[in-house]
Amino acid sequence: MAGPTIDHMVSITVLIAALLLSFAVYNQILVNAIAYERHRQVAMKAMDLMDTICLSPGNPPDWGQSNSTPLGFGLQDPESAGYTLNAFSIMRLLATGGGLVYYPKTGKWYNNISMGEGGYLLVPIADSINYTTVAELLGINGSYGFQLTITPTVSVSVSQVNPNNPLRFKVEVRGPGLALGGAILNYNLYHAIRRSGNYPQVEIFSGTTLTDSAGLAFLEFSSVDGLEDAYSIIVYAYIGGLVGVGYNFHETMETEEDIIPFIESFEEGIIILAHNYDVHFFGPPEHALFYNATFFLLTEDFELQPVHIDNSTGKVVYGQGWPYGQVQIPASQPGILLVTYRTGDDFGTVMMPWGISTLGVSITFGDEPSGNEWVATEIRQVIVNEISYQVKLAVWSLKD
């Protein structure tokens, strides 16, 4: 009797062990297959979203040049085909990482898209398109998260190498991980001067040169003092179909005063020029600033062409009761608003791009991808108003 019983016990034990082992293995296969399928769905969604964002202009197609919320989301330039994005639509995105700025004289909050020294891009939050709105328009609110990064393909850095006279710059043109030798550079230097009256004028120096094999070029302006003069310089670099832009500036103000341009209306191209002490007070003395605003259009030859704007000169004063300055620029044309200002013998310049590309602004829009189990990434090369950009879209599932 004992023999068959032991035989049964051994066989049942071995059978159960084998079944448990095979269940575990099959379960692992199923888990992998489910994870694989989920990841594939996210990857497909990333491709779909990238196509929607880059290859459709949204609805209405010109929503980037209006103050209204779009009914459909897309960033393609409605007047172009393929991977060409609208510089204005991108400008209306409420970028992440930008600080919030409150301007008491308009009672509005603005998103400060970081551009570094000498350049401002402050967009009104009320008229910007936020992440939730875009997610709803794309039909992924609550199901997928995303982050959209739009950065210039070519990096152009402009740095002053001589502290005084003559003014000398080093221009370095690079792609991701490599120097771009042989790039053609088109540069414009805007020198703030005072000829007569209260308002500063602009003296323009332009030229063309090439980068060497290390991607470097040196620019020299013998009639401008790097220490005593105020200027802004913009350099467009061009190689093999790619275009990048870089800039630098210098001011001679002894105080912290300067002028801040705020976008008041995307639709009408109205820009407010504010005394910065109204935004952040640095303490006395408090000078009135006399300004002269010039708008430059970027031509197809990468030259900056000045355009007449009304009320281009004025004065801004810190404190209640003093109005801000206001100019209207051509809303439909990407360009650069250059504001030169002075008080006494001190000068300064500030620039604001109209359309993100003219000064090579980068935008990061959306949620933070870190911490998610699996993130699909799509990359495309695009053109934003003649400037080469790279669009990166990270997408993840919110249902895991």
């Binding site: 068959p4 035989d7 084998a18 099959y26 196509d51 799509e378 495309r380 080469s388």
Partner: protein, 430 residues
Amino acid sequence: MRTIEVLFVIIIILGAFMITTYFAVLPSPRQIFGTNLRELAVSALQTLDANYDLSAIVFTDASDSVWGALQKALSASLPPNIVFNLTVFNITSSGGVVTYHLVNSISNAEGDLGVGSESASCLVTSSEVTFGITPEKIGGENPRTLYILNCNDANGWWITGYTAQTLASDLHNLLSPYFQTTILVNTTSQLGLLLDGTPLAGEDLEGAVVINTCGEAVPIPSGYADQYSQDSYARYCYVLGQRVNQYNWTWVSIVGYPLYYVTNTAKFAGSQNTWGIYGMVHVGAGGLNAFLRGIDNKGYSYDGSWITGSPGVVQFSSYAFDLSNYYGLYPSPYQTATRALPNWIMSTYHLSVRPSDYVFDPVSGWIAGATFSHQGGGALTAIGLTRIPDIRVSALALLMYYRPNIYRTEFGASGASRLVILQLAQQGGT
């Protein structure tokens, strides 16, 4: 004994496991989850040729330094883990035989990029060459007339954001090269003349194409409004169907439910379509039913039943994909249909649709876009998409129906075109 049986069972289980794992092989993560290299290559080529720089470079001598600039530009355009191979072929044609000769190839990788690579190509043309196209006229020796309803005394519905006049202008630009005569019907009175069989400019009425740019509304001449007001003007729609059959017309409805309203801003100045649009009267679903009875030469009777369906997102048929490329019309291949016609109307009203006339693949018996031709003459092109209309879909549907040829002509020397292929591969990891 039992132990031996169990061992057999285990062998069977292990065998099943091995067979399952042999067949259930998941593709490598790189193949599925990597960046879409093909689209990246397309976007890189487009970017480099945005100002025709790529076109200029590929026509230079292979020893020219601009190829180096192109290589740098490509390296800068692509992420560091992507390797590329750009190959340029010269295209020559002799005696009808097209030959591809390698001109130059630049790469940042040694050897073959492997089977995991993806590629995109584009055809670039020398700036010294002019290309031209000559469309064939629809109808051949018996050319057909294109009528575009551009009535200034009619309103539109479901053409939100457009006016009938802007759509008419777009259609004129898109389609007039394919027709011997294109006539904009500028008033409802002119439409009345056509319905009475009177040409507007000596053109041939027979076999014409009539495009209604008013969306779900159809213009109605005053005389017809007086005469055919029965059943909220469904009777007028019946007469339209009869005329389409009588003159062998192709009637084109560009969006939504065909013939759902009638419009005449003078006649219906005090009436509105139940949505606040004056100059328009609500016909309802009975309009289309009456039209179909008219085109089928059935006796008039009123049927107000709703017959369209809402299949949701529909996609281009394979024919539409091909011909979209052929005619250079690129509406989105994915559209939303909420007024698709049912396929049973074909048997009920003696209509037929050739496989090549489906703009969108039918979904569960719903036809979102196609040209229904009647066996006794006349046809209905119905685009049952939701608003706002993309007029290119209607244009494509018509071109798919008539299939005019496009004759391409090239002026200049042979070898004026070059094929550029950009092949990308991802380095490292699987």
